[in-house]
């Protein structure tokens, strides 16, 4: 096949979809401070409230006022942990239960609480990335303040049973937060069905602009601003509204919701094609993550005997853009903490590649990858000191 560019890193970020881009360009003129009382300000405000409703609808939140706009997933997650710092500072209920496979912005926020003297538990996962429910039941007790479990993992795509985890947390009086950054727009997300108190979203993973996100905060649960200042967002998040980013988020959220069924269908088909093609053409591969509770666009594969950064860069030379759990690519000496948590061992983690598909991926793109990948693996294995 002729050389083409195949972007398969949609879990890292997505391009702006055309409808979002067009709407944002049109809305570039919405400049007024949405907190101003004059007409221009009120008009900007009403557009922001429309966007808020669209984001609320995406996560099944009946009250749009439970959505607070932030600068992204990292800020939303940090807001929850900062809130817990204040809520748990004095008092007996201060234990935090989270997982070993969270995004670094949750892991590091949890480690910060740990350094402030909070007891923090990082739950392990099984070989397919599902959290250890027995350990959850054991660890969540009457001193537990927060349970924070991501809805779907960015690296391996494994989906957790948030509804069940919520019930267990609430039964012991703990708050429940889920980082749904990777789940939104890819699987149904429903704050009511899940019963969560806090839920994190990021706009750039759903074909909207970067630097915008949201936090769902159930009415009545505690919240402490990370950024203090004016009265925006009921004082929960200060700073003049990012009009254009928020309006883009609204459009992206509306489209993500209306497209969801088709998205799941199309991604599942393409993923299955890629999965089957790799397993058929390349001996001794290991597919990471859960066999069916997995994001429809995410396929994580380890290629024993071949090192991930080399695979990534040989693919890149062919125009194929992926990511790897190898340490070399991260600039640290440790490979992916997610893959290590699944127990596959450092060698398989170093040799892992994440293919994350998206709206623009075609069957031809998958065929192109299936043509280019097998010889790359064969070549690296041939020059390897390690037997596949």
């Amino acid at each position: 096949m002729d050389k083409r560019t195949v972007y398969l890193d949609y879990n890292a970020t997505t391009p702006l979809r055309a409808e979002v881009k067009d709407a944002m360009i049109t809305d570039l003129g919405v400049f007024a401070n949405a907190s101003s009382m004059h007409d221009a300000g009120r008009r900007a405000r009403s557009r922001i409230e429309e966007a808020r409703s669209a984001v609320a609808a995406l996560v099944g939140a009946p009250d749009p006022q439970s959505i607070v706009f932030t600068s992204g997933g990292s800020e939303s997650n940090n807001t929850v942990f900062a809130t817990m710092f204040h809520a748990g500072r004095s008092g007996a209920r201060r234990k935090i239960v989270t997982t070993a496979i969270e995004h670094p912005c949750v892991l590091n926020a949890a480690k910060w609480l740990e350094s402030e003297g909070f007891p923090v538990i990082f739950l392990g996962v099984d070989g397919q990335g599902k959290i250890d429910m027995d350990a959850l039941v054991r660890e969540v007790d009457d001193t537990t303040l927060l349970v924070s479990v991501m809805a779907a993992n960015n690296e391996i795509g494994t989906i957790q049973d948030i509804a069940r985890i919520s019930k267990l947390a609430h039964a012991r009086g703990a708050f429940i937060h889920t980082d749904a950054t990777q789940a939104a727009g890819k699987i149904p997300v429903d704050v009511e069905a899940w019963g969560v108190d806090y839920l994190t979203l990021s706009c750039h993973k759903i074909y909207g602009p970067k630097g915008v996100g949201a936090l769902f905060i159930r009415k009545g649960v505690p919240v402490e601003p990370l950024i203090r200042g004016g009265h925006q967002e009921h004082g929960v998040r200060a700073g003049t509204y990012n009009n254009i980013g928020i309006l883009g988020f609204g459009v992206a959220a509306r489209l993500a919701l209306s497209d969801l069924d088709r998205y799941v269908r199309e991604m599942s088909t393409l993923r299955a094609k890629l999965h089957d093609g790799i397993v058929e053409a390349i001996p001794k591969v290991r597919v990471n993550g859960h066999p069916y509770d997995v994001l429809p666009n995410t396929l994580n594969v380890s290629f024993p005997g071949a090192e991930g950064e080399s695979i990534l860069l040989y693919l890149d030379l062919e125009g194929i853009e992926v990511s790897t759990g190898s340490a070399c690519a991260s600039g640290s000496l440790e490979p992916s903490h997610v893959l290590l948590a699944t127990g596959i061992g450092p060698a398989l983690a170093h040799g892992s590649i994440r293919f994350s598909l998206g709206r623009d991926t075609t069957g031809g793109d998958v065929a192109y990858v299936l043509e280019k990948l097998p010889p790359i693996i064969a070549r690296l294995r041939k020059m390897s000191t390690v037997q596949a």
């Binding site: 080399s310 190898s326 070399c328 490979p335 020059m383 000191t385």
Partner: protein, 198 residues
């Protein structure tokens, strides 16, 4: 530095795309000496195989489980040492290879360090075979602890002998036990060698 900036330096890219002297399991290459270093756990392992005529390296092959800069730098190293006397080859520094490649980012230097370490291991095995064990041991060594005259090779040897942390290293070498001024540099080396040999 961004990984892609260095990768696409033309020299690195060329060696990455067309690595020279890679061992091909289908060819009949019987080495006179070989050395292997690194650890798959750390994501890099390197093997060097030498054909020797007297003390001159007449041909060379290598294999690696490693990242792009491991491949490119070892490919470059393999070209440089062909036809070279083993004493000269023994003293090639990772920096020499990195500069021939037009530079490598700091966090990538350990990959080329691996190439020269594997080469030295192969030469050491040749020296053992020919009844001259440890002949070049102190050549090209860099003094790390000026108080006690302890060099990088001594630290390397201590790690190969089992030192894994600062206390273990001090037990074996006494490094840093006088003024202590060498501790930072010695610990960095320790960390690097543990990564390579442990």
């Amino acid at each position: 530095m961004d990984a892609f900036q260095w990768l696409y330096s033309d020299v690195v890219k060329d060696h990455f795309m067309n690595p020279r002297n890679v061992f091909d399991p289908d060819e009949a290459f019987v080495p006179d000496a070989e050395g292997i270093v690194g650890n798959v756990k750390c994501g890099d392992q390197m093997m060097f195989m030498l054909r020797l005529e007297g003390d001159v390296i007449s041909d060379v092959r290598w294999k690696t489980y490693g990242c792009a800069s491991a491949i490119a730098s070892t490919s470059m190293l393999s070209e440089v040492v062909k036809g070279m006397d083993i004493r000269l080859a023994y003293n090639i520094k990772p920096e020499d290879i990195a500069s021939r490649l037009g530079g490598l980012p700091d966090n990538k230097i350990h990959c080329s360090v691996l190439g020269d370490k594997a080469l030295r291991a192969a030469i050491d095995s040749w020296l053992d075979k020919t009844g001259r064990p440890g002949l070049f041991k102190n050549e090209g060594a860099k003094v790390i602890c000026t108080c006690l005259g302890i060099n990088d090779r001594d630290i390397e040897e201590a790690v190969r002998g089992g030192a894994r942390d600062w206390e273990g290293l001090q037990e074996r070498t006494k490094v840093g036990t006088v003024c202590g001024g060498c501790r930072k540099v010695a610990e960095e080396l320790l960390h690097e060698y543990v990564h390579i040999f442990a």
